[in-house]
Symmetry: C2
Subunit: 184 residues, 2 copies
């Protein structure tokens, strides 16, 4: 894992991968799958994410003002399907990380845990835009730290040759994903 | 080409493909490449697009209130690179479509031309949000019609098997693209 220059953070998302959103507040934490995540600006790096108002992840990220975008890879498909299929609200007394055996590590600048085994991570601070949040479930955030697995992302670009298990994934529909493909 | 039910239009964008944005106003039209395009809602279908304030495409789409998202495929890589490298403002007297030999056909509900040879098209009507537009170059739009090439998109999902030339593309950086890959 290495740090990604914030001016290059948009390149982690440019190709439209599916993500795992993590958030934490006080002693609570949660994780969900999200495909509607997009770069918004280069410098300072900003992103948009769409998070349904009913989700527990959103409750925690709004309370804390921060969240993380984790970029899962092919070998994590089952985790992505699992955390996308049940709400953290329905797991009283424990959390999805424990239930699904998802290992994490500490972020650099925020409270949300980062998911081990992912290939990219963006630590985000919400820029409050209540109208967007309330009307569209749309959040705008500044990226305050970014990291990537140097086996597949270095010098500001992805390179998956020889690393098929580490390819990022793209959600099509109904739990079906495509791996990021060949250069063209 | 066949119509896509608007409640399934988000699935055209779910996997994060690079797009061509077209717009038209009075006798003027333009086209540009854009990677920062994302689904925002299911029904009514909405999208977000980020369009720099200096672009000619934006001037036309703001004047008209509509634009189209075209989804190019592998065999159109050169077009995507070309229209992404020069502004329509620098082509007085003609336009990018003529200069680059880009064939189009009429949209169903809006004035913007649709690009032949693409594999998906979303016709969009801007929902005016001046704060987002002026502060973030961020546009929210409702999808008012959607279409796809049935060879690779039918019954609400993509299927590229045996159609490598028709795979959608994902921009990584600096004019390098990945094709949408294998199911996983």
């Amino acid at each position: 894992m290495h740090s990604v220059d914030l001016s290059k953070a948009f390149r982690l998302l440019n190709h439209g991968p599916t993500t795992l959103i993590t958030s934490a507040h006080t002693s609570q934490r949660n994780i969900m799958a999200a495909a509607w995540v997009c770069a918004l600006d280069f410098n300072p790096a900003k992103v948009t994410v769409v998070i349904d108002s009913k989700t527990y992840t959103r409750e925690l990220m709004e309370a804390e003002g921060t969240f993380a975008i984790n970029l899962p890879c092919v070998q994590q498909i089952e985790i992505v399907k699992q955390v996308g299929s049940i709400s953290g609200r329905d797991l009283p007394g424990t959390d999805k990380f424990v239930d699904y055996g998802i290992d994490t590590f500490a972020a650099q600048a925020i409270s949300a845990p980062l998911v081990k085994g992912c290939v990219g991570w963006l630590e985000c601070k919400i820029i409050p835009e209540p109208h967007n949040q309330n009307t569209y479930d749309l959040f705008i955030a500044e990226v305050v730290a970014a990291h990537a697995d140097e086996r597949v992302f270095s010098e500001g670009r992805w390179h998956f040759e020889g690393q098929d298990d580490l390819r990022t994934i793209h959600h099509i529909a109904g739990g079906v994903f495509f791996a990021t493909g060949q250069p063209c």
